[in-house]
């Protein structure tokens, strides 16, 4: 089994590199998944005014901290892309590790936050609001973890100066994960 790429992969009838095109389509499909989930949540929320009371038990400060952490990590992803464009794989890898660290901090903050909430009895089965709270944030968290793992692989290649175009691709994905959080934060924390 050869690992050489088919000629098809190198063609570009649209002018957009194939990898980038695919990442955009991945993001398109993800938008619909999160769109379905969040639309269901919004419909329920509008139909249940009493959920505002449940939502008041979320801690906005944890959410705000995580928003800040994720936005900062996105900045690192941009810097990694900048370094990769200049052909500096080592620097790109370093910035990617910084982005990854942001993801890790995000997950740790989440863990602390959820532990407290679960100890107070706000578990996923408590009521409709907490169903959505854990499911939506959990699905988002899985995307953060997946993004970190892929980023480590790409950083490892970039360190050796290989596949530098992928630095931009993971950056696009990471911004998307960031934007999902930008939607989750007001919907789950701020709206009370």
């Amino acid at each position: 089994m050869s690992t050489t790429r088919p000629i098809a992969t190198t063609r570009s009838a649209t002018g957009i590199p194939t990898g980038k095109l695919a990442v955009w389509w991945v993001i398109g499909s993800e938008i619909v998944i999160f769109g379905g989930l969040l639309a269901s949540y919004v419909m329920h929320r509008l139909g249940h005014p009493e959920w505002a009371e449940y939502a008041s038990h979320t801690n906005t400060w944890f959410g705000a901290t995580n928003t800040f952490v994720l936005l900062t990590s996105s900045l690192f992803a941009v810097l990694a892309h900048h370094a990769a464009e200049q052909g500096d794989g080592k620097k790109a890898a370093k910035w990617l590790l910084g982005t990854c660290a942001g993801g890790l901090v995000f997950i740790c903050v989440k863990a602390v936050e959820w532990t407290g909430e679960i100890q107070h009895g706000y578990t996923i089965t408590a009521n409709g609001f907490w169903h959505f709270y854990y499911t939506a944030a959990g699905l988002h968290g899985l995307h953060v973890i997946a993004g970190c793992i892929i980023m480590l692989i790409i950083a490892n290649d970039a360190r050796k100066g290989k596949e530098l175009h992928r630095v931009e691709l993971i950056g696009i994905y990471w911004h998307f994960v960031d934007i999902i959080w930008i939607f989750l934060f007001p919907l789950l924390y701020i709206a009370k």
């Binding site: 089994m1 088919p6 000629i7 098809a8 992969t9 063609r11 570009s12 009838a13 649209t14 957009i16 194939t18 095109l21 695919a22 389509w25 991945v26 398109g28 499909s29 993800e30 938008i31 619909v32 998944i33 999160f34 769109g35 379905g36 989930l37 639309a39 269901s40 419909m43 329920h44 139909g47 249940h48 996923i124 089965t125 009521n127 409709g128 169903h131 499911t135 699905l139």
Partner: protein, 573 residues
């Protein structure tokens, strides 16, 4: 494994000296799009046989209630539900999807656009592997304690969300996991299809030079991708309800069971067009080749495809007219549902216009293609009764609905597949199928198919509800048993005729007449390479000079003009 065994001997004469590969890397872990297409196709055929066997078991129970079914045994009430549910699930997700989109998509996209493979061969392989796991999980779900899921392929909660009601704690969860995995497989595959068609076309192939079937497969992939998201979200919620104990769909705890219906049908109705488009695309290729005419108004057909795809997102609630939705909403969805028949009807008119005045050759693939149009029309016209909310209130959940959607899905999944396989078989295996056997199979299948479902229309209009284990318990319906026996007998005949196809298929694969490069004298690029194509498809990748349907061009000696022939070699313009 069936697919490996049959493909192996086919490979013996497709031997390619500089790509010597072992058995595992060639047949099981191949990244070659043609081999992956074969894997999808053979898995689909096996699943179709399983789904057909299920229909045999439950139809026998309906015709001869309470008697032991030969080759199955007694069908209990729970098993009956599981058989009906999994028959539907298998036929849509594990037969129609893999055979039409995945098998033909994988096989045709690189060959028809003049590329050596898909743009992401390893993701392609991963997509099939996930699909195979999903099929195994689904089959496994039938054998766990409590039996397979029996809440219908639509899996409405609260029946599906609580083991207390469904009585299949493991079966329903495994069913859900299998369906979700299948979605992941097709999302990966779909992204590959879309990017390949967008980026990897041969030099010179412009947007309107793409064969219609590829447009349709790719529009179907986009449609699938844009509609399946909410159902994936819904599947996560349903999974949480089943396993974690949340109450998303439990009205007693602030949930809403109708939400699932919206999420399901927001996907479920576009899904009809996801499988319809590749099938009608296959038909487009065949009627052009066998009527030796240019596709009538290529661009208008393309616009009807786009219109169908867009409108299909605004019709879903016509499945929910009796679910307690607002009657004003029912009016809106009645109107959108009737509107979607316009582009479909337009498309059919354009196909008939393509046939008009052509030199029609009634080969087996052509017969299947024409049958598709005729049979699908019956499905489409009966759909108007169901799309109008007034008549739907009476017809809802009767055998009229069942017969209606079998008149759409059977043409799509079975006739569409058979049209495609009889047309591209020479390319896939390098040999011709037997025409006489093909025609015997065609007439047997078509006659039997109509004999199954026309009685079911009659039963439905008489008020016979779906998903009933034994109609003898209903005095008003018991005396119509004759029609049920007739339909079941026709099913037995139809299943028996499939043996003719399977024999023809495997016999021709080894003993058929050698096909040569272009047995049908068709224009599209896949016919310019050897049959079967080697690894990498062409020694030198072709260029494209014209549209795919230049048949019977005036002034040319031959009545076809392949896409890869440079203009200066043409005798006269």
């Amino acid at each position: 494994m069936a697919e490996a065994g049959t493909a192996e001997t086919h490979g013996a004469h497709a031997h390619d000296a500089h790509h010597e590969q072992g058995f595992w890397s060639k047949y099981i872990f191949s990244t070659d799009h043609k081999m992956i297409a074969m894997q999808y196709m053979f898995t689909g055929i096996v699943m179709a046989l399983i789904g057909g066997y299920m229909s045999y078991a439950f139809r026998m129970q309906l015709a001869f209630p309470g008697q032991s079914v030969p080759g199955y045994g007694l069908v209990s009430q729970g098993e009956y539900n599981a058989l009906v549910t999994n028959h539907g699930t298998i036929m849509i997700f594990w037969v129609a999807m893999p055979m039409l989109i995945a098998a033909f998509g994988n096989y045709l996209i690189p060959l028809m656009i003049g590329a050596d493979d898909m743009v992401f061969p390893r993701i392609n392989r991963l997509s099939y592997q996930i699909f195979l796991v999903s099929a195994l999980v689904l089959i496994g779900s039938l054998f766990v304690p409590g039996g397979g899921f029996g809440g219908a392929w639509t899996a409405y909660p609260p029946l599906s969300s609580s083991a207390e009601y469904s009585l299949t704690p493991l079966g329903s969860t495994l069913w859900l996991v299998a369906v979700a995995l299948e979605f992941v497989a097709f999302l990966l595959g779909g992204i590959n299809f879309i990017t390949t068609l967008m980026n990897a076309r041969a030099p010179g192939m412009k947007m309107y030079d793409i064969p219609m079937v590829l447009w349709m497969i790719v529009v179907a992939s986009v449609l699938f991708m844009a509609s399946v998201g909410p159902l994936i979200a819904g599947a996560v919620m349903l999974f949480m309800d089943q396993v974690v104990g949340t109450g998303y769909f439990d009205p007693g705890r602030g949930g809403d069971p109708i939400l699932w219906q919206h999420l399901f049908w927001f996907f479920g109705h576009p899904e009809v067009y996801v499988v319809f488009l590749p099938a009608i695309g296959i038909v487009a290729e065949i009627i052009c080749t066998f009527s030796r005419k240019k596709l009538f108004n290529y661009k208008l057909i393309l616009y009807t495809v786009f219109a169908t795809a867009i409108i299909s997102f605004f019709v879903w609630a016509h499945h929910q007219f009796v679910a307690g939705i607002d009657p004003r909403m029912a009016n809106v969805f009645t109107i959108t549902t009737l509107i979607i028949s316009i582009p479909i009807a337009e498309m059919i008119f354009l196909y008939i216009a393509t046939l008009y005045g052509g030199s029609i050759r009634l080969t087996t693939p052509m017969l299947w293609a024409l049958a598709f149009i005729a049979e699908f029309m019956i499905g489409g016209i009966t759909g108007i009764f169901l799309g109008a909310s007034g008549s739907d209130i009476y017809f809802h959940d009767t055998y009229f609905v069942l017969a209606h959607f079998h008149y759409t899905f059977f043409p799509i999944a079975i006739i569409g597949f058979l049209a495609g396989i009889t047309y591209w078989f020479p390319k896939m295996f390098g040999r011709m199928m037997n025409e006489t056997l093909g025609k015997i199979h065609f007439w047997g299948t078509i006659a039997a198919f109509n004999s199954i479902f026309i009685p079911l229309f009659i039963l439905g209009t008489a008020g016979q509800h779906r998903r009933i284990y034994n109609y003898q318990n209903f005095p008003d319906l018991a005396d119509m048993q004759g029609l049920r026996v007739f339909a079941t007998t026709a099913l037995l005949v139809m299943l028996a005729f499939q043996a003719v196809f399977l024999f023809n298929f495997f016999y021709s694969m080894f003993k058929g007449k050698p096909a040569g490069k272009n047995p049908w004298k068709a224009n599209t690029l896949e016919w310019t390479t050897t049959s079967p194509p080697p690894h990498g498809n062409w020694a030198e990748l072709p260029n494209c000079y014209r549209g795919p349907y230049e048949y019977s061009v005036p002034g040319r000696e031959e009545d076809y003009w392949p896409q890869d022939v440079p203009p200066d070699t043409a005798p006269a313009e």
